[in-house]
Symmetry: C2
Subunit: 413 residues, 2 copies
C-alpha cells in the first residue's frame, strides 16, 4: 500500500511542480468552498471520532483538540483562502550572476517534491498541511492519528473531490488510512518517494521520527523557553512579559517554562510576580532563594530545569550574573525561544550573540515565535533543528532551490 | 570515547561561535604555515599508509588519492590561506524588519555548531574540512578511513598545535582515531552532540550514513548526469560539450554518464561523436539505433541507464521528443546535473523547468557544477538532497540562521 502511495505521489510531483499560481489559488478557493458545503458530512465523521474518544476515556484537552464545530471548519476554510491570497514563492529567481566565462548562473525557488506529515489528533492539521504543501507545489502524504481517522478521511475525500473538479490530480493529497505503528515506521523508511518528513505532535512522536526515519526530517517544536531578568531590568515590564509568556496560553511550545532572576532584583521582583502568578494558578518550582521569598513555591529539583511543563507551572532560579544565566540556558534549553529583560546595551547584545536558540528576544514575550506573528501569513510548525530552516516555518520552508545555467557552448578546461 | 569527543566539541562550540573574523583568519594562516613546516612528519606518516596500502593490494587510483607529496601539502596550505581571504559569512544580518507591534525582527547568520564528517582515503580532506568548518565558526569531528589513519593523525596533530599557539581551543578539530565500523555506526547516533553529518566518499558510504544516522545528514554526491541533444542543437557545440563532460575528468560526480540524442540528428551527430570518443578510449553502450550507427558500440542493458560509470564509458539512447528525454532523465537521474543542447527557446525553458536536478544547464558542460566554478571560493561537497542546501556547497552551507528580536515590552494579546 505504501509503495503505491509513494509512486502516486511521485507521479503527481512533476504536474504540481509546474502548475501556475492562478491554478493553485483557484483550487485552494474551491477546496475552501467545498469544506463548507460538506460540513455536515465532516461533522458527522468527527462525531464518530469524538464518541470513540469519550468511550476510551480521552482527556478533556485532547477531546477539545479533536472536536470540530461549524466555526472550526469555517476557520479551516478561511485558512485556505488566506493561503490563496499569499504570494507564490515558487519560480522566484533569488539570484542570478554572470561568471567570468560567460555562464549565467541563477538560483530558482522550486518545490521540495513529496512532503510527508505525521501528526496526532488535531483534524484541522489535515486541511492546513494540504494547503501549505499545495501552495508550494508539493505533493503531500498525510499520516494522522487513529483518534481522528474518520474526521481525517472525510476531510481528505472532500479535498480530493475538489481537486478533481479543478482538473488537478487528487494525488496532490494522499492519506495513509492504516493508523498502525508498523505502517508508521514503514512510512518513515519511504525515502525512495518522500523528500522530507515533518512530525507534528508531542515529544514522543518527534523523537520516534528522528530515530527511525531514513527520510530527511524537519524536527519541530518542543520548547523549554527561558526568560532572564537582568539586574538592570524594568521590573514592571519584566513582570508583564513573564505573566504573558507563561499564562497567555500554557500548552504551546513558545510559552515560558523557566525564569532566571538576577539576585540583585529578586527581592523587588519575586513577591510581586508571585502574586500575579498565584492569581493565575501557576505553581512555582524555585531554588532555595526563591522558596525563601515565596512561601507557596515548592523546591525545584534538577529535573525541573529541563522540563517543558505545558501547564500552569514554572521553574524559577536566581543567578549571580549574565554569564551564569547564559550558561544555564545553553545547558537546559531546547533551542527554541529565549528572552532577556534588560536595560543594559552590552547585556542585550551578549545575550543575542551567545544564547543558542532559534529566536532570542530582548524585552519581549517568547510567545511571538510564530509564523503569523513573524509576518509569514502561514505556519507549518516551528523548527528547532539547525538544518534547512530554523524557527517558525512559513511557505519558504517547503521549498528548495535549483541552479539554472544559461551557456553558449562553455566547456571546462 | 565518542561521548568525550562529543562533550569537548560542545564545549568548544560557544567559543568558536563568537570568535572574531580576524582571529579565525589569523589561525587559518598559522595552520597553513605550520603544515608546510611539519611537511616531513606528515610525509613520513603518509609513507606508512601508502606502504600498507600497497601491501594490501590497493588499486592505483586509490593509492594516488592516498599519496601526499610536497606539492599536495602545498595545495592544502594554500587552500587554507584562500579560506582566510574569503568573506566571513558569520554574523551577517540577512533581513531585518519592523512588525506592526513595533518588534524589530532580524535574521542573523550563525554557525551550525558541531559538524561531523565521515570520509574515505583522501587525507587532504582533513585540512580542507577543518578549514571550511573553522572559517564558519563550527567545531568539526572527523572520522577518516583506516587507509589514511597515520596521515590524518599527523595532519590533525599539526592543526591542533597551531590552534593552541593561537590561544584557540584545539577541540575546534577532533579526530576519531578508531576506524572500526562499530565506532562509525555509534558516531552516526551522536545526535546529542553533533548538529549535522556530512559523508564524503562513495555511494556505499553515503547510503550507510543515510540509513543509520540519527543526526541530520547532508547527502552528497553521486551523479548520473545526462546531456540531451535536441533536434535544433548546434551539433559541433554538442560534440565539444559531450567530449568535455565525459572525458575531461572521468572519476567525478559531475561527469556526463548518459547521452540522449533526438533521432532526427543521430545520423549527423553519432558517427562524428563516436570517432571523438574512440580517440579518448570511451566505450559506448547504446540502444539498437546507436549500435546500428556505431559498430564498436555495445548494446546497453536496462542497468546502463541508471549507471554512474565514473570511467571511460557512456550510455547513449535515441529519443523521439523532448518529452521522452525529460521523462527518461527524471526517471534515471540522481538529481545532480543535467544539460540540454538546443537552439529552441521553448525547449530550453521547458528543460530548465521540468528536469528535477540540483543544476540544469542549457548549452554548457555539466562539469561546471562545482563550488569554485560557481564562484563560492570553496566547496565542502555537492548536495544531491533538497533539504538545507542543493548543489555545490560553499561556506554558507555550513551556517544556519537565528532570529534576533528587539522589543520594548511587547506582550502577545
Amino acid at each position: 500500500m505504501l509503495q503505491t502511495i509513494g509512486q502516486r505521489a511521485k507521479q503527481a510531483e512533476p504536474v504540481l511542480r509546474t502548475l501556475h499560481t492562478m491554478e493553485k489559488d483557484h483550487a485552494l478557493r474551491q477546496v475552501a468552498a467545498d469544506l463548507l458545503k460538506k460540513q455536515e458530512e465532516i461533522l458527522a465523521a468527527n462525531e464518530t471520532d469524538v464518541k470513540a474518544g469519550k468511550e476510551a476515556g480521552m482527556s478533556e484537552g485532547l477531546l477539545d483538540r479533536l472536536a470540530l464545530t461549524p466555526e472550526r471548519i469555517g476557520a479551516m476554510s478561511e485558512g485556505l483562502c488566506q493561503l490563496a491570497d499569499l504570494d507564490d514563492p515558487i519560480g522566484e529567481i533569488t539570484a542570478m550572476k554572470k561568471r567570468p566565462n560567460g555562464l549565467l548562473i541563477g538560483q530558482k525557488r522550486v518545490p521540495l517534491g513529496v512532503v510527508g506529515i505525521i501528526y496526532e489528533a488535531r483534524p484541522n492539521v489535515t486541511a492546513d498541511a494540504f494547503g501549505l504543501c499545495f501552495k508550494t507545489g508539493n505533493a503531500v502524504i498525510l499520516k494522522g492519528g487513529s483518534d481522528a481517522i474518520h474526521s481525517n478521511r472525510a476531510i481528505v475525500n472532500c479535498i480530493r473531490n475538489s481537486l478533481s473538479k479543478c482538473q488537478i490530480t487528487p494525488d496532490a493529497i494522499q492519506f495513509i488510512d492504516d493508523t498502525s505503528r508498523e505502517v508508521a515506521t514503514s512510512f518513515m523508511k519511504l525515502d525512495q518517494y518522500v523528500d522530507v518528513l515533518i512530525p507534528r505532535g508531542g515529544a514522543g512522536l518527534i523523537q520516534s521520527v528522528v530515530k527511525n526515519s531514513t527520510i530527511p526530517v524537519i524536527e519541530t517544536g518542543t520548547g523549554n523557553c527561558h526568560i532572564y531578568v537582568d539586574e538592570s531590568a524594568d521590573l514592571e515590564m519584566a513582570a508583564a512579559i513573564i505573566v504573558n509568556a507563561k499564562t497567555q496560553r500554557v500548552g504551546v511550545c513558545n510559552a515560558c517554562e523557566s525564569l532566571l532572576v538576577h539576585e540583585k532584583v529578586k527581592n523587588d521582583l519575586l513577591p510581586v510576580l508571585a502574586d500575579l502568578l498565584k492569581e493565575r494558578n501557576v505553581l512555582i518550582h524555585g531554588d532555595a532563594q526563591v522558596t525563601d521569598l515565596i512561601p507557596e513555591a515548592v523546591r525545584a529539583t534538577e529535573e525541573d530545569w529541563g522540563k517543558e511543563y505545558l501547564a500552569h507551572e514554572i521553574s524559577i532560579k536566581t543567578v549571580e550574573s549574565l554569564d551564569e544565566a547564559i550558561d544555564h540556558i545553553n545547558r537546559y534549553n531546547t533551542k527554541h525561544s529565549e528572552a532577556i529583560i534588560t536595560n543594559r546595551y552590552d547585556h542585550a547584545q551578549r545575550f543575542l550573540d551567545e544564547v543558542d536558540a532559534a529566536a532570542v528576544y530582548v524585552n519581549a514575550s517568547t510567545r511571538f515565535t510564530d509564523g503569523f506573528e513573524f509576518g509569514y501569513g502561514a505556519e507549518i510548525g516551528i523548527s528547532t533543528q539547525k538544518l534547512h530552516v530554523r524557527g517558525p516555518m512559513g511557505l519558504l520552508a517547503l521549498t528548495t532551490s535549483k541552479y539554472i545555467i544559461y551557456g553558449n557552448g562553455q566547456i571546462r578546461s
